[in-house]
Amino acid sequence: MCLPRTFFIITLSTILVGIIGCASKRLKFKDAEPVRYFNDIHSIPMPESVRTERFDYYATVLPSRPELKAQIIPTGQYALDVNSIDEVPASSWYIPRLGYETISPEDLLFGPTELGPPRLPITVIRVRNPEHNPRFLVYDRRNIYYLIKMDPPGYPNIATNSSFIVNRLFWGFGCHVPEDHLFSFSNEDIKIDPESRIRSSELDSILTRVALPVQGSYKAVASRIIEGQPLGPISEKGVRKDDPNDLFPHQKRRVLRGFRVFCALTNMCDISTDNTLDMYVGEEGKGFVKHYLVDFDDAFGTHAAREKRLWAGYNQLFSLNDILKNLFTIGFRIEDWEKVKPSPWRSVGSFESTFFRAKDWKETHPFEPIRNSQPADNYWAAKIVGALTREHFEILVEKSGYPEPGAKDYMIQTLMERRHKILKYFLGLVTPIELDHYDEGKLILKNMNKIFLKNESKDSLYVAHFYDGYDREISKPMQFVSHLAILNVAIDNAIIQKSNGYLRVDISIERGTEKGEIPVEFHFRQKPNSRIQLVGVVH
């Protein structure tokens, strides 16, 4: 065999072995408390402001789909912004709320409120998009600045309600969001700033392009302008190079990957970099970058109504896969969205739950973190959604105001059904078991599927495997059957001794509606008196 060929074979084999070796390497956790708060708000000089060029964005996003790239391997990797127990610590990206603190419906309704809605009269400085979906930059009588958004013509309440409800929901999910409020104003309550270039007749003309006023009052949502220096959108991939606090590539952040679940619940299909905003908060040189999610008015049925896209939430803007399937099936492939009919309520549009499938929900423009989301990311987000109750939805829908009879109940029911489908699917991608605590030789576990979906009537068969720190199985697998949501798993002292200081317990569900493909791993380190302490969780 000649030398170059030998060299080539050895090199290729080395690379392959290395790859396989890296792929199969198990995680092992240090003996340390999990990080609950990640300090990424060190003072930094103000980074440069960036803009998204729309065509550059399409050029990057649309041809880069995995099927077009003939991707050999999936690009998704385990999220980097998680701690040892598979949770996301608080940071400039995320505050743990729903699922981690008790957030009552009233708390959720209050949400990000600080200064409240605008105090009339409001004075217009500038108008954006006067032809289509106008937005007004105004200040109120306290000189507080707001961005005012209104409903599209023919669809009263659809965008304003969506903006308010989804703003509160994302606040509950833990995102940083601006302070959005519903309010009403009449023609007498709106003035024009003397230094503005808008004429009165122009303003009147713009107001004819929004939903008609009811008894002389326009309904609007006011989004308080966030304090700080805007730096532009959050990039989908990579990091902000001139922000030393920004360590993890954004497509590998669980906080952003979790949008797949949050946006599926609310049908926020227009999620893209345009819905994100980096703000430099603090004095120049002493501040840091805080990451916000903005613009929630295109959720629920608004996007479909405004843009005439019944397929919003079911398809991406460009999907070569779908186009080819439709082309070669000669019209006999019926997509789910084709069966969707707009609801009888203009304030609801085509927001529905019958044809909604959590697995198949898609954002309009491919959003890199969502496309890279892993089962563990979606499970984390699903747990947060699971903390929402009917009462949460009721209070938000009630406050928004759906004047058409039946619309309110329909919205609440649809949200609950979508929540149910999301939980059923995303919790089923992993083994949805959490460790509540360890108590005197017993692991107290929670089956999140049974807790959220309340299906304790059915038995599930669990299997637990025990390993030491070298991946050696140190005991026979333990099987147990239970229909309860809370499980007690006894850990024999002998198992703890055999583990030699590091014990891994893998639990899988072999039978039951919540059977997952990936077992959950609980990693423990041995403490004095044969006690064990949880040091790591892998879903």
Binding site: C22, A59, I73, Q77, I323
Partner: protein
């Protein structure tokens, strides 16, 4: 030899160790410690400086290596998208085009310009001005130019309302130059070997009077004056028709033929939408009489019927059935210029044949099209369609119709449309003779 080798090795190492290394150490030590003592304040600042952790890479090296083939494969597409994006961003920005853009587009949407293209007419633009004379009036200017300087210009002013009356007036002025049209002879059995080419220059003035009867029915009376000139074509590879035939053989093979016409249209349109209809009917009946002025050699009447039925099958899948016919009859002792005969072979008749492939006095045509959507964007839909066309020309279609001489064309295409109009239609037609490709944009 071996001693010399060893001696050389030791010597270099010794030199490095004794001369260079101390300097490296001194240099390193000098930079690791400040020359003067640090103040407490500076030390505090150093301690207070946040220790930023290392940023993680967007993609690991092994990911980049393994996805390199795919990345290389899409690189041309990515550059194409970027190029188109850059071009559009330059052209789209009104400031750059400035006064011309403001002239062509008005904020109220009443005036706008759009590009247009057809394989027959070439590329160009259309400018619209609505409500110029009265509400509902439409001024349209179209200019296109194609290969070998084929051209079409048309100025039309439609929907002019006479005061207090429900009749609308249309006025159209146009010019067209087709430089390499084909002529295969007259009759249903002409062959491709008989092909010759000619250039046709046509100018026209149309004056129409429209009346509507509800939203579905309209009638129009049209007065037309047309002048035709037939020349040698610019096609150097084929025989010229004017060289092969004379005016006596083929009526119309001359210049400055002015024909005055009077036509009557009956239109019934119950389609659910104008662009991409899924249900309804479209019926066009036209009867016209035409006579040459000045020479009085040509004179004929023509009857056309075009019926389309749109059948909604399921979820936007639509079947379109079409039946069309045309009869031309010369007046006593007069003839019909060949270009006014019934014709099969355009994209509006049988697809897959050359334009003007079959000519005769009468024509019958049937067509089946099946439309199904493959993509819906904002307000546009992209439909794919399959079609089958069949037709025949004859001297007298009632007597001479034969299934054996029925000409068939089939194929498919893509159409992009919204509810009002079609933006783009691309078709590929196949006949027993050849493939033909058709592309029309905003036609």
């Amino acid at each position: 030899m071996s001693n010399l080798k060893q001696g050389t090795g030791k010597s270099i190492f010794f030199k490095f160790t004794t001369i260079c290394l101390p300097w490296i150490l001194i240099f390193g030590l000098a930079n690791s410690q400040p020359i003067c003592c640090q103040s407490d304040r500076t030390q505090t600042e150093e301690r207070d400086k946040p220790k930023f952790l290392k940023k993680r890479k967007s993609r690991e090296t092994w990911e980049q290596i393994l996805s390199f083939p795919g990345t290389a494969l899409i690189f041309p597409f990515k550059m194409l998208f970027k190029g188109v994006g850059k071009t559009l961003s330059v052209l789209y920005v009104p400031q750059k085009v400035g006064a011309l853009y403001d002239f062509l587009h008005s904020d109220d949407g009443l005036r706008y310009a759009i590009p247009t293209y057809s394989t027959r007419g070439g590329a160009g633009f259309k400018i619209y001005q609505k409500n110029l004379i009265n509400e509902g009036s439409l001024l349209k200017l179209r200019a296109t130019m194609g290969l070998n300087f084929r051209q079409k210009y048309e100025l039309s002013l439609k929907g002019i309302k006479l005061s207090g009356r429900s009749v609308l007036i249309d006025f159209i002025l146009g010019y067209r130059l087709l430089v390499d049209e084909s002529f295969f002879g007259i009759g249903p059995n002409t062959t491709t070997a008989d092909r010759s080419t000619f250039a046709q220059e046509l100018s026209w003035i149309h004056l129409g009077f429209n009346g509507g009867f509800g939203s579905r029915i309209s009638m129009k009376t049209l007065l037309t004056l047309e002048q035709n000139n037939i020349y040698k074509s610019r096609d150097k590879d084929n025989t010229h028709t004017v060289d092969l035939y004379s005016k006596d053989d083929i009526p119309g093979l001359e210049t400055k033929v002015k024909i005055l016409g009077g036509q009557f249209d009956f239109i019934y349109d119950s389609r659910d939408m104008k662009g991409g209809p899924t249900s309804g009917q479209e019926i066009l009946l036209n009867i016209g009489i035409f006579n040459q002025i000045q020479t009085n050699e040509y004179g004929y009447w023509k009857v056309k019927a075009d019926l389309r039925q749109y059948i909604h099958l399921f979820y936007g899948r639509t079947l379109v059935l079409r039946l069309a016919g045309e009869m031309t009859e010369p007046f006593t002792n007069k003839t019909v210029p060949f270009y006014s005969l019934s014709e099969l072979g355009r994209r509006e008749t049988i697809r897959g044949f050359k334009r003007g492939r079959f000519r005769d006095y009468d024509m019958i045509l049937g067509s089946v099209e099946y439309y199904y959507p493959i993509r819906k964007t904002t307000a546009n839909t992209v439909d794919t369609f399959l079609f089958l066309d069949a037709g025949q020309v004859a001297n007298n279609i009632v007597k001479d119709f034969e299934f054996d001489t029925l000409r068939i064309g089939f194929g498919g295409g893509v159409v992009v449309h919204n509810k009002e109009s079609e933006a783009l239609r691309f078709m590929v037609g196949r006949s027993e003779e050849q493939y033909r490709f058709y592309l029309v944009i905003n036609y």
